[in-house]
Point group: C2
Chain length 356, copies 2
């Protein structure tokens, strides 16, 4: 079997703990399915700032570039929050996305049965919610020119939001293709009644749409989408949108499932390369105490198997193992109803490994 | 008594119907409280496009400029949705905000007891929710330079987001002052980890904050705010944010109350002048059928009395009348549980008038 190279970025806070469990899962799938993985660890985020003086060391980038996929734990924490821009973990995140050409961020928002009650939405509204936000990740106002200048009204700050046809077309086509493999509904979200970039966005969507006649397309204004996600979450299948709107809507969508501690995400570029990470953050308050829930990171491995390696059998097995362990009633503290019966990060990882 | 001049913009769809009921309320408060109003009607939005060839005729602007306040019904509809930019109702909205210097949009999101069940959120989560979004309304990416240019990657569209210190400071100070009159909590929402305008925003907030020592301030990133609104809506008091984020978050906040058909809003500038309108849209599907709920527009009159005229007694009386009519079980179709018992727009207006 071909050896797949995985760059492993543990990161900050609970990152190292949850990634350690995901690595056990990798090992287990080698044994069970005969796949072969080679992992290479790299420093990134806060820990890289502390040890190398930059959130994204050149060496880390090279390790990622020679890998087939990247597994990321979590980055950031209050320790670095007041640093100057070039010494902040987020700057590393934006840098790695751009450097690796990860123009697409897939954020599935699904409801785990055992976490239904954790949602603040009524169960009958949530029923059947299973959506995917496809967020453009390397363009828009995140990466446009930024500067300050003096005016008669005091200092002025400027951000520039730009999109060209190619940038829009590649993400929109990807979203249509994803919709074709799902429930065949695509909501393209923009603010075409105000923004020029949104008008370009909508033009491109309308131009390519006829090539996907099996996909039902709707255009939704971003403010309306923020409302409709609350009113009729189950009616959405795939949502495609630009970087800033995607940041906001994917978090709203994740939160309404009530399952945010269990959600994984993929950032993809051209070809099969991808970066996989849990949606949750680095949770510094519970770091190093064997309290974190490793499931989102373990499910990120399943997503990697599916999208980058095409190992559907192993992906299925991981997802089934997670379901089995949850069905048996095992819970980490974040998702336990009876906190006194909660198990630790390692125990959860071991149970899932054993179920594969 | 001084005569107050009110410019009345009925607009499109259900606009004329709901505004007619609000005008009955104006008349009633003249009788009961001795106030005196002079109303002048003006064309705006779709109807102005049809009749005058522009969404914001010069005459309409002049009527507004010589008034003390503006009452707006609703504008827009599918009829004008595919028009070129200068012939769209939204362009009129942006134009009137800028021309009248309405830099601040207040969007109270409260839960009406009788509509609690209409929310998709669990009642226990919603309990106590009473927040106000203060949205900057004449700056940011809405009003920055917009253009297209050719690049090697196809056409490129550009929007510019700019804020100067003065623009940020006036809205932030207003939000602090509003918080002082409420529960004394202010959440300033930005994306300071990515945007230069947000970093300027945060600097200004932090600089003026010491002048409002009685207000508890938190900075919240916009993606996190979209989540926290779902998780802990009752914990917010005043939220202040820039134009685009405010557009999204105020709609999310309104929807989660379940009371969107009942919410009013105010757009303010320097001094006491203000434009008041319901949060809901023009609902063309039910227009002209005596089906629309006039309460949000009637409550917009109460907001006008409070914020522009300082007529707290009449504002209280209107709000009490609305509560009384609802408590007595009267409902328009949108908020009726038993639709067969729903009353019409005019009947609802008459009942409220009678209760003042
Ligand atoms: C940390 C921040 C720069 C980042 C973003 O806004 O993209 C985060 O919110 C995310 O969604 O991955
Ligand atoms: C119609 C549109 C231009 C407008 C806006 O985005 O400001 C509307 O959504 C609003 O919130 O008043």
């Amino acid at each position: 079997t071909e050896v797949k190279k995985i760059a492993v970025i543990a990161g900050d806070g609970i990152g190292p703990e949850v990634v350690a469990e995901a690595e056990k899962v990798l090992k287990r799938t080698e044994e069970v399915f005969g796949y072969r993985f080679e992992t290479e660890h790299a420093l990134f985020g806060g820990i890289a700032i502390d040890e190398k003086g930059t959130p994204l060391p050149q060496e880390t980038l090279e390790i990622c570039q020679r890998a087939d996929a990247v597994l990321l734990g979590a980055v950031g924490g209050p320790k670095w929050d007041n640093n100057p821009k070039e010494l902040r973990p987020e700057t590393g995140l934006l840098g790695i996305r751009k450097a690796l050409g990860l123009f697409s961020n897939l954020r599935p928002a699904v409801v785990f049965d055992c976490l239904k009650d954790a949602s603040t939405l009524k169960p009958e509204v949530l029923e059947g919610t299973d959506l995917m936000v496809v967020r453009e990740l390397t363009g828009g106002i995140y990466f446009g020119e930024k500067f300050r200048r003096e005016t008669e009204n005091g200092q002025e700050a400027v951000d520039t939001c730009a999109y060209n046809v190619n940038e829009v077309e590649r993400i929109v086509r990807q979203a249509f293709e994803i919709a074709q493999k799902r429930r065949k509904k695509l909501a393209s979200v923009d603010k075409a009644n105000v923004l020029e970039t949104s008008r370009l966005w909508r033009e491109v969507v309308n131009r390519v749409a006829p090539e996907y006649p099996d996909v039902e397309l709707e255009h939704v204004l971003v403010d309306n989408c923020a409302m409709q996600l609350l009113r009729r979450p189950a009616s959405f299948d795939v949502i495609v949108t630009e970087n800033m709107f995607g940041d906001i809507l994917s978090d709203e969508a994740a939160m309404l499932t009530g399952s945010i501690g269990m959600l994984s995400s993929a950032s993809l570029g051209e070809g099969s390369f991808g970066l996989y990470e849990p949606v949750h953050g680095s949770a510094p308050d519970i770091a190093g105490q064997n309290l974190a829930n490793p499931i989102a990171t373990i499910l990120s491995v399943a997503l990697m198997f599916r999208l980058t390696f095409g190992y559907a059998d192993a992906a299925d097995a991981i997802e089934a193992a997670v379901a089995e362990v949850l069905d048996a009633g095992h819970r980490t503290g974040d998702i336990a109803v009876d906190k006194s019966k909660a198990i630790g990060t390692k125990e959860m990882g071991d149970l899932i490994v054993a179920a594969i």
